[in-house]
Amino acid sequence: MKILIIEDEKELAQDIKSYLSNESYLCELASTFQEATEKIHAYSYDCILLDLMLPGGDGLKILENLKSANKQEGIIIISAKNALEDKVNGLQMGADDYLAKPFHHSELAARVYSVIRRKQFDNANVIEQNELQVNLLSRDVRIKGQLVTLTKKEFGLLLLFLGNKNRVISKGALAEHLSGDLADMFDNHDFVYAHVKNLKKKLFEAGCSNYLQTIYGTGYKWEA
């Protein structure tokens, strides 16, 4: 899978690249409007991360170009503007998702994962990891073919973990994934433990191996 990161802040772009890069993702960087336009026309990607404020032009213009060129890439806007108008405009112009800076890398990875899955597997969109099967469309989870009933939040957490294999996810990132922007307003995210504990218990009881590791004092890691 090829991902293009259009972001003028080099440090940030580099971090995103090294976080996302693994055996299945290959990341490329573009830091100006010009560079981004050239790359888009020369190559095709599975997913494009698009910063709206770029030296040399408006990121929304790139989005427009992509759409008029009938490109099929999944597009996620990553912006510091956080303005409602930008979000609405971006989504209306055909972006697949919008993420306001500053974000957790795990959140971005989960969004990238889900955009790519949506683009590539229209109908039979099932994630499989050994005995675990997750159907993204019907939103059901099976272990060795046996249906496991998860709450909406537990399902959300499971997707986040699957999109961030072998990465440490902090409690704050988990809370933000569950409560969105509101998580920012609290320092105490203890409720995350409860949801993760329940998820772990349900998976374990259904016979799933223990992929989810607790990293002491920090968060969790899904090992695969």
Binding site: E9, E11, L12, D15, I16, S18, Y19, A80, N82, A83, L84, E85, K101, P102, F103, H104, H105, S106, K153, R167, V168, S170, K171, G172, A173, L178, S179, G180, D181, L182, D184, M185, F186, D187, N188, D190, F191, A194, H195, I215, Y216, G217, T218, G219
Partner: protein
């Protein structure tokens, strides 16, 4: 407080009263003097006439004796008697009591005592004329004076009203315009044109002042927005670096706890920054698009979003009355308002506390249990943290207030029966 025009009015009234009261004795003295002078003249004329006529006729002594006897009967007001010793003429004023229409009355007389010679014999002639009594004169003058005083006062009042209505109109209009002015809404201030120099000066100075304040205010707003904007990127990089650090495989437990400890203040900074940016955006009149929203549904949504935090603190949530209320406004702003009020209630509740939500007609009340009342003057100000709670960004309620003032809603804080209560009237 007194009205400006009432001040001189009062002074004028007192002065007029003083002058008029002083004028009463002066008038009296002048009138009395004129009276007496005129009467003296009159008495003198009478005396001269009597003297001349008696001399012209050349009465015999016998006739003269008869006349003098008859005189007392026929000529009241004058006396003619034979005199023994002659003194110079003298004037006098005398009061006599007498019956008039059956009533005892005191009459004042002005008299002339004179000595005349008839047929070479000296006679004492007294001419007396009734003068208006002093107290009657005084009373009459006082009455007239007070009548005029009353007329003056009526005139003052009428003039005062008319002046207040017309001359001061530009002033009232300027004042109205100032009352309507709101630095936040930035509408134009149009002072009425006037041909009175002082008001024109006032208006010009006010316009200058307002323009300057508006400019400074706008600058400040722009600064706030730019500053928080500029902070977004370094914050994003910082968060990203912390994230990367967390992924390092060699991280010891101690180090990962340190990283975790960095994350907490970091999210606090980004929270403050996000809120500042939001405040700046509300102030700068973003979030313009309005739509019809069902407030109750939004409250329920907000509660659902915060459900985890509510149960985490073992809070009980009670919804008592819940009327249907539809508003035309920006949905994001209302969500922000509701979330902030709820977050505030959650953050400031103790464990096992209670949160009560009520939507009664046009008023949404959110209460939570607490110990000490907050300073209601300060809680809506920016960065005034009313409690020791560290989670507070100090901006949540300022944002709530800002949203309320944007739509002209009112928010009221009270503390009753160990409950903090925030009531928003839409």
């Amino acid at each position: 407080m007194t009205k400006l025009l009432n001040r001189p009015f009062r002074a004028f009234t007192v002065y007029a009263l003083l002058v008029l009261v002083l004028s009463v004795p002066v008038y009296y003295l002048v009138v009395d003097h004129i009276w007496l002078t005129e009467l003296d003249e009159h008495n003198h004329i009478v005396k001269t006439r009597i003297e001349e006529r008696l001399a012209d006729r050349a009465f015999s002594n016998k006739e003269l004796n008869d006349i003098i006897e008859l005189w007392a009967v026929l000529q009241p007001g004058t006396q003619l008697k034979r005199a023994v010793n002659v003194r110079p003429d003298s004037l006098y004023t005398i009061s006599r009591e007498g019956f008039e229409q059956g009533l005892l009355e005191t009459d004042r007389f002005r008299g002339l005592s004179s000595f005349i010679y008839i047929n070479g014999e000296p006679y004492h002639l007294v001419v007396e004329t009734n003068v208006e009594e002093a107290d009657e004169t005084l009373l009459a003058i006082a009455l007239v004076t007070f009548l005029f005083f009353a007329l003056l006062i009526c005139g003052f009042i009428l003039l005062n009203r008319r002046i207040a209505g017309s001359i001061w109109r530009p002033f009232w209009e300027t004042l109205e315009e100032l009352k309507r002015f709101d630095l936040n809404s930035q509408q134009e201030v149009n002072f009425p044109k006037t041909n009175i120099e002082e008001f024109e000066d006032l208006n010009a100075e006010l316009t200058r002042l307002i323009d300057k304040s508006t400019a400074v205010f706008n600058q400040q707003k722009a600064f706030l927005e730019n500053a928080s904007h500029e902070l977004q990127t370094p914050l994003a990089v910082l968060r990203s670096k912390v994230n990367m650090l967390l992924q390092t495989p060699e991280l010891t437990a101690e180090q990962s706890q340190l990283v975790n400890a960095i994350e907490i203040p970091l999210s606090r900074v980004s929270r403050i920054n996000k809120n500042l940016l939001l405040l700046a955006k509300i102030e700068n009149k973003q979030f313009e698009t309005n739509e019809w929203i069902d407030l109750g549904a939004l409250v329920v949504e907000s509660i659902e979003l915060l459900r985890d935090y509510i149960s985490d603190k073992k809070l009980t949530l009670e919804r008592t009355r819940f009327d249907h209320l539809v508003l035309n406004c920006n949905v994001t702003l209302v969500e922000v308002l509701l979330n902030n009020l709820l977050i505030n209630a959650i953050a400031h509740s103790e464990e096992n506390g209670q949160i009560m939500i009520k939507l009664d007609g046009q008023t949404l009340t959110i209460q939570n249990t607490g110990q000490v009342p907050l300073n209601s003057q300060m809680i809506f100000k920016r960065f005034v943290v009313a409690s020791s709670e560290k989670t507070s960004s100090g901006l949540g309620l300022a944002i709530v207030k800002e949203v309320c003032s944007r739509y002209g809603w009112t928010i009221h804080y009270s503390f009753v029966e160990q409950r903090h209560s925030f009531a928003v009237t839409f």
